[in-house]
């Protein structure tokens, strides 16, 4: 596809343009290759397990049982999915511009602190108004934090990967200072925290489930992000700039605004994740906010190839792996790092699979095109 395609045809017109088989072949590639890579990664991990004297089939049946096998397992997995969706968006959105932002953890903790610090001011407000306001406040803080990374990148040429990572350390130190100092609830003796949120400011569970509303918020924002990237001129411009900044500038696209806008939006989602953690789980902001969701989000975004829709199933899969970590420790006497090793194998397999695109004849549309 080029910008100047006179017919205005896009790959999405596959039904009319090239016959459904050809279109199906084209689209299958993006699904089949990651799934194959996933299976290769799992297979490689099985070899690793055999080397340490453990049974791969027992391992995978435990993962299935603890992550997806019972209704408790599903609720366990989905509870863990909620923050991962938003953390992954913080990586995936800037990635469409070719930026590798890995410091979403910083926006998560500061978004959480913002919610914890402001909650006192809303303690007599009804939840339907106050919770969205807290969400906006956290999103704003996150947007400013990661948006600053985008600004530094655009205005000063600072490498966004390093900058965002180092800023995450600063954010965590800042959070520790704030919850142990200015925002500390004097009643929180041995675990310094902000004051407890009023009951109506707590985000509850989706009715009938032991999963809080954060999951639904995450899914909706993933879908909206996909629409933004795939269905709007802003998203289109971002993809162009991500492909070739010079070309985008020549075309007159506002590259600076795109960079700052997309990093800020990603940061806003991460900040919101922090607010949801405080409102739904912790009930106050404290050091437990820095629990690594931002880093798992990096893995998810890469596995999803920065496609916001693909983030949803990938996040569920990884949350399922994490949900199974406990049962694996208890039943197989493997250390908790086992699941991290598994994630590493899958990650490497997916990265390697990038070189396979366009190399399988079966996915070539011309092979299926009706003459």
């Amino acid at each position: 596809m080029t910008l100047a395609d006179p017919s205005g045809r896009t790959p999405r017109d596959w039904l009319s343009a090239e016959g459904w088989l050809a279109g199906l072949a084209r689209r299958s590639e993006a699904v089949a290759i990651p799934i194959m890579a996933l299976i290769v990664g799992l297979a490689a991990f099985s070899i690793f397990l055999v080397f340490v004297g453990k049974s791969p089939s027992e391992f995978y049946s435990l993962v299935y049982r603890a992550g997806f096998g019972t209704s408790f397992s599903w609720q366990n997995t989905l509870s863990r999915t909620a923050p991962l969706l938003l953390a992954a968006l913080c990586v995936a959105l800037p990635a469409r511009l070719g930026l590798v932002v890995i410091g979403g953890e910083g926006a998560i903790v500061l978004g959480g602190v913002a919610a914890g610090a402001l909650a006192g001011a809303f303690s007599s407000w009804p939840g339907v108004i106050a919770i969205p306001l807290l969400g906006l406040a956290g999103a704003f803080v996150g947007a400013a934090w990661i948006g600053a990374v985008g600004f530094l990148r655009h205005a000063r040429g600072v490498n966004e990967t390093i900058a965002s990572l180092l800023m995450a350390y600063i954010a965590i130190a800042l959070m520790n200072h704030l919850v142990e100092g200015p925002f500390r609830d004097p009643a929180s003796l041995n675990k310094p925290s902000t004051a407890l949120l009023a009951e109506q400011l707590r985000l509850g569970n989706i009715p009938g489930w032991d999963v809080h509303w954060g999951l639904l918020i995450g899914v909706v924002l993933c879908v909206l992000s996909w629409l933004l990237i795939d269905r709007t001129t802003w998203g289109f411009a971002a993809r162009i700039a991500g492909g070739n900044v010079k070309a985008a500038e020549v075309q007159g696209l506002p590259v600076g605004r795109l960079i700052i806008g997309f990093t800020a939006l990603g940061g806003a989602f991460a900040g919101l994740a922090g607010v949801i953690e405080v409102s739904a789980i912790h009930g106050s902001a404290n050091a437990s906010l820095a629990s690594g969701y931002g880093y798992t989000g990096i893995l998810i975004a890469f596995l999803a190839r920065h496609n916001p829709l693909a983030i949803i199933p990938v996040a569920i899969l990884l949350a399922g792996f994490e949900a199974s970590s406990g049962l694996i420790q208890r039943r197989m006497d493997l250390p908790d790092a086992t699941v991290l090793v598994l994630q590493g194998f899958v990650f490497i397999a997916i990265l390697l699979s990038d070189s396979l695109y366009g190399r399988f004849r079966i996915f070539a549309p011309e092979r299926w095109r009706t003459a």
Partner: protein, 374 residues
């Protein structure tokens, strides 16, 4: 033109492998925990071989695992997030655990309080002593030990051994628990020689090896010659201090293997004693007290065996002080006592005994401690 080096046959093979893998995934036949007996869960916030807080609890779990009719389910590195909530529920759902010890302070509120009402038949025992009958469920209990007494005894030995009359303390966060340990360590040393001081450095985190090593080196550079600490895993502090030729006093668990010659003694948790007692209560059909505490005489804490460098004078005073503690009602904090910023804590003639509730909201360092809480 693009080449397609991978044939359709290769693809078919891949598809076959995929089918096989899917079939593998549908074999959920796993034996659940034995239907008989009692399953006890233990959850740790860090690695269970950290030579510290978590190892001390894991040693308790190991002792419980030896008991007749008891199965132990353990999980390490469980974060104080939804992670611990689901770990507890997973132990209940998959292992039929009916007694769970989530051992980190931060597990209590909101996590244990969130899960406990859903499982009224399961008992949740939390290490910290926060339970109160007015606000918390009856199937939750809390327990903790007066380990400040152990740090006082560390201080007694350190006070005898120190040549520079300057002790060092590597601390995690300036919270009451930690401050009490620092103050007790100094007061123990001052019971030997009132001119002794103690320099404290806070690292800001429970587990941050690099800063712990830096802090230890800084204490060594400033002339401290007996080091102790309150961080989750004292291994780095012990090894760094011993590497600099300094004496060390342990904390949480026995660290003498890390510095056999320079290890004086250590304030250890005695979780094997506490946990086997509690599990035995359940096995006998009884109910564990919701609120349980103790010090040396109740078997909550113990001291590491004295090391080879400990002198006879130190040993005598150590044993005499310990004997006094065993009688109960020991007061490490006696007036007149000032903070290191000059505020009076206790006037002459008054004291805080080990069980005094005022000790649990401590927010000061006593006179003689060099350092600041903020």
């Amino acid at each position: 033109m693009t080449s397609y080096p991978i044939s359709r046959r290769g693809m078919l093979k891949g598809a076959a492998a995929l089918t096989g893998a899917t079939a593998l995934g549908t074999l959920p036949q796993i034996a659940t925990a034995d239907g008989h007996g009692l399953t006890v869960g233990f959850i740790y916030v860090g690695p269970k071989d950290d030579f510290g807080y978590n190892q001390a609890h894991a040693e308790g779990a190991a002792a419980v695992a030896e008991m007749e009719g008891v199965t132990v389910a353990e999980e390490e590195n469980v974060a104080e997030t939804v992670d611990v909530q689901k770990s507890m529920e997973s132990m209940i759902n998959f292992d039929s655990a009916s007694l769970i010890f989530p051992t980190s302070f931060g597990y209590f509120d909101p996590h244990i309080l969130e899960v406990a009402p859903k499982y009224p038949e399961v008992r949740f025992q939390h290490a910290a002593g926060l339970w109160s009958a007015d606000e918390h469920p009856m199937n939750v209990g809390s327990y903790f030990g007066y380990i400040g007494l152990g740090q006082y005894l560390n201080g007694v030995v350190a006070g005898h051994i120190s040549g520079t009359k300057k002790l060092g303390f590597v601390a995690a966060k300036p919270i009451p628990q930690v401050l009490q340990n620092i103050n007790s360590y100094l007061l123990g040393a001052r019971s030997v020689d009132p001119s002794i001081t103690c320099q404290v450095i806070f690292t800001g985190e429970w587990s941050l090896a690099v800063k712990e090593a830096e802090a230890t080196n800084a204490l060594a550079d400033s002339g401290c010659d007996v080091i102790t600490c309150h961080v989750d895993g004292p291994k780095v502090v012990m090894e760094t201090a011993a590497g600099r030729g300094l004496y060390v006093c342990g904390y949480h668990a026995d660290q003498s293997p890390l510095a056999p010659e320079l290890y004086l003694t250590g304030a250890e948790w005695n979780w094997p004693g506490v946990y086997t007692r509690m599990v035995q209560t359940v096995l006998d059909g009884g109910t564990i007290d919701n609120f349980d505490r103790g010090g040396l005489s109740e078997g909550y804490i113990k001291m590491s065996p004295l090391g080879p460098a400990v002198t006879d004078a130190a040993r005598n005073q150590f044993e005499a002080t310990m004997a006094k503690m065993m009688e109960g009602g020991f007061a490490a904090y006696e007036g007149p006592l000032m903070t290191n910023t000059g505020t009076e804590i206790l006037p002459a003639g008054s004291s805080f005994v080990e069980t005094d509730i005022a000790l649990e909201s401590m927010d000061y360092l006593v006179e003689g401690v060099i350092g600041s809480t903020s």
